[in-house]
């Protein structure tokens, strides 16, 4: 990169090609993990648009809900689900490293913290599903 670096002139930037993350599977997985946030954000914007259509009335909502039935949107939501699951799994795996849980003087083993996070995720997901089915 030959861009000016006036803001942080004192820092050293190694000259990497912009495709550095394709060189090593680890770097590639890192980039995939970062990109999950893009798919999650797009899904949430779609959800917000859905709520906006709901605020405009039942007809506007029904028309929008109809559009979400198209194969293109189903495919998008499938791909976004794969990325979202990757975010959840990598995030909960990291809780064992980041979050030190102590009981009294003793530290809970990181593997147990991770297992707890996954169990909590399952419980929360099930609760949302059941609440939705009961109320809607």
């Amino acid at each position: 990169m030959s861009a000016p670096r006036s803001e942080r002139a004192g820092l050293y930037y190694p000259k990497l090609p912009n495709t550095w993350w394709l060189k090593n599977p680890r770097y590639f997985r890192f980039m995939i993990r970062e990109v999950t946030s893009v798919f999650i954000a797009i899904f949430l914007v779609v959800l917000l648009v859905e709520l906006y259509q709901l605020s405009r009335g039942p007809d506007a909502y029904a028309a929008f809900a109809d559009r979400l039935r198209s194969p293109g949107w189903i495919l998008f939501h499938l791909v976004a689900l794969a990325f979202a699951l990757y975010h959840s799994v990598t995030w909960f795996n990291l809780t064992g490293v980041v979050q030190v849980v102590r009981v009294g003087e003793r530290q809970v083993p990181p593997a147990l913290v991770v297992a707890g996070a996954f169990a909590a995720w399952g419980a929360v997901s099930l609760a949302i599903l059941l609440l939705f089915l009961m109320r809607a």
């Binding site: 670096r5 803001e7 999650i40 959800l47 689900l81 949302i128 599903l129």
Partner: protein, 116 residues
Amino acid sequence: MTSHNKTTEPFWWGLFSVGGVVAAFLVPIHLILNGLAIPLGWISVSPASMAALVRHPLVKIYLFVLIALPLYHWAHRFRFILEDLGLHGMRTPLAILCYGAAIVGTVLTIWVLLSL
């Protein structure tokens, strides 16, 4: 600007972290529910019952947490994706653009939820 970035960095990182937790816990089930199960007809919901559900104040607060907080998670990660792809020289404009988009998203979320 450097000193300014240094003082606000923990704030944005905190929002990134909270947004990451919210996204990890809540987004997959909503993708299955709102993105697949309802459109594919596994669950049928009438517009009237959906409207009644989202008008509940607690549901509105929940939707705010679900939609707005992960936007800051996105902003933080997307900012560094762009930097990692070679835009080092544009650190401050990228930060303003990404966090600014998340703030706009937050305002829009509040506006939509209040107009329901």
